[in-house]
Amino acid sequence: MFSTDHKVIGVQYGITSLIFLFFGFCLMMLMRWQLAYPGEAIPFLGTLFGPDRMPDGVMLPEFYNQLGAMHGTIMVFLGVVPLAVGAFGNYVVPLQIGAPDMAFPKLNMTSYWVYFLGGVVMLVSFWIPGGAANSGWTSYAPLSVIATTGQTLWLFGMVLLITSSLLGSINFIVTIFQLRAEGLSFMRLPFFVWAQLVTSFLLLLAFPPLEAAGVLQLMDRLAGTSFFMPSGLVVSGVPLDVSGGGSPLLWQHLFWFLAHPEVYVLILPAMGIVAEVIANNSRKPLWGYKSMVYAIIFLGFMSFIVWAHHMFLTGMGTAISTFFQTTTMIISIPSVVVLTALFLSLWGGSIRFTTPMLFALAFLPMFGIGGLTGLPLGFNITDIALHDTYYVIGHFHYVVAPGTLMALFAGVYYWYPKVTGRKMSDKLGKIHFWGSFIALNFVFMPMFVQGLAGVSRRLYDGGQQYAHAHGVLYLNEVMSIAAWALGLAQIPFIINFFLSFKKGSKVNDNPWEATTLEWAATTSPPLAHGNFAHVPRVYRGPYEYSVPGQAKDFSPQNSQ
């Protein structure tokens, strides 16, 4: 339980984050009922929630807001990032660099338990009077400052999660710099490790301003300060008894200063996983490895100077608006470089359509759609019409759900044999893939249509009260049915995940015939203490597949 072994900690992060992903998904499934059938009681489940949340099974708007704010918070901070970085990063990075563990094993253990505590605090908030945070995952002031107690718990939870993240990122950076095996120069690192390195720098330097902002909001809520409270605010007809003089926009600036780099934290590990799976299953080196590395370094750097494209409608003048629009357009370039390189990596390859490869291949067009739909949002002019509409929700979900989440599934199917010594069932995997892939598109594609029609975000009745929404309201039911179908499609995955642990076909060290050290230099699962029977030495780059003149179609990094 309190192990300091990175493999155990990686599995702890993995199981915990998958449970949080499931919980966040359930919150969404509840929301989608209300959106499809506003004002109707939820069958069977409706009565379980009590009169404070769903009197007679009909969802209250206040509860809808809690579901919305917590769905976002849980998915991003308790689900995707802990899975991508905490689980995959922790487990795979030391193995891929030939290290016996992370640089600071005790700190690693602390990171996990602080994350766990943060998660508990977040969940507990649902059961306190007033319920969970309900001011959006973005917690904009002044609404969040006057909101119910759940918001205070949200802030404490975030402080814990940010602390966990900071400790983890320090560990990752020191490990990658200091514990690489002999012969493993930076340009021989698997792309997955590069992705985790850039991600860790983003987490290290971008999270602290949100921690500061969280402290300021806690002061506003608990000590009555006015960091974010403007003068003259009137709530329910009564002027607020605060000193005033604060700035709601200060919260937005500090929040987005983190939250923009955060979205690259969401995508970079996913790109790393896809790169590994594609190289392995096309039996070819990655096309443009160096360009990809420089691209993500540039991407990480640029991510710090685009944040106000989330704030185009806050009253900024044209000069500043143009600055952020320009940096936003520039930052789309490295993503295109990476995506193009991954596509080109397939050209002329001997593609093996294994389950992880299916997910990795699907990532490419899905991330493409997600990225392209970001462009009209990045232009300040078109953003005027699209800001705060369902178009935005469609955009970011395409990048994170059909995008990152599919890549994470690819990672689970790919590395499961290394962690457990057994393969997951291919049949169940393919059902999971096709079910998810089709359902995901039916959930999120209609959102662009609704957004272009002007349907706003965070409306608990899905836009029913607005005349301009009427033509596209029918799509709510379509999306909700697709969402519940998506839920059903996860059942084969859940069964597969648990069943294969005992019943999956056993594998040897390197069932995928891969070149990187986690496959080539150690057993499945790796040795409990120290990972490697003999400390590996690296002789070549990470993707030496189908090298002319070699007997096998893959040359592991550590073979002489």
Binding site: F104, L166, P208, P209, A212, F227, V242, S243
Partner: protein, 196 residues
């Protein structure tokens, strides 16, 4: 199972692990306090009126605190230098002095806060007081954290000097880097809040 480069420097980076680790942590702290300074600028520029620090705050006390903190930085680095010269007795004296000076800083701060509260000058009174209490409060928490770490290294943690002297010296160096950073933040805090 040994983690490499815990005590010895890795040849290509020239660093032992904890040295890189603490500098990365300090980098994140720069962003943390930077965000608070940035907030200070935003709030002050936007305010119709903003008091000068010397109108509300106690400059002599804060100057005393500046002297105390800088002195504690010297005693901290001297405690590390003593270990490098293999003088454990001197180390104990200098580290002990560092901890005492740090307590002194907190006591003076306590006086300052107490005086404010007795005049009903709470953080909720104005944005100036809000940012003053928040930044100095967060800094104060960092001082407390430093005291805890240093006290451990002075007391129970000092046993490591007998068994692994190099590792212990490195720990003191790393703790020193943190402590100097706490001093660094105050070096900016003092003029910005009190003198301007």
């Amino acid at each position: 199972m040994q983690i490499p480069y815990t005590d010895t420097a890795r040849p290509d980076t020239g660093l032992y692990n904890a040295k890189l680790g603490i500098w990365l942590f300090l980098a994140s702290e720069v962003m943390l306090f930077g965000a608070l300074f940035s907030s200070y600028v935003l709030l002050r520029v936007g305010a119709p009126t903003w008091p000068h620090g010397y109108e509300i705050l106690n400059i002599p006390l804060a100057t005393l605190n500046t002297v105390i903190l800088i002195s504690s930085s010297v005693t901290m680095v001297m405690s590390w230098a003593s270990l490098m010269m293999k003088d454990f007795g001197k180390y104990k004296r200098y580290m002990g002095l560092t901890i005492l000076l740090a307590f002194g800083f907190l006591i003076v701060k306590g006086f300052e806060y107490g005086a404010k509260f007795s005049h009903h000058l709470y953080p909720s009174e104005s944005t100036f007081l809000a940012i003053y209490f928040t930044i100095t409060g967060l800094h104060g928490l960092h001082v407390i954290g430093g005291i805890i770490v240093n006290a451990y290294l002075w007391g129970p943690g000092a046993k490591m000097w007998k068994t692994e002297p190099v590792r212990f010296t490195n720990r003191v160096e790393v703790a020193g880097l943190y402590w100097h950073f706490v001093d660094l933040v105050w070096i900016f805090l003092f003029p910005v809040l009190y003198l301007l």
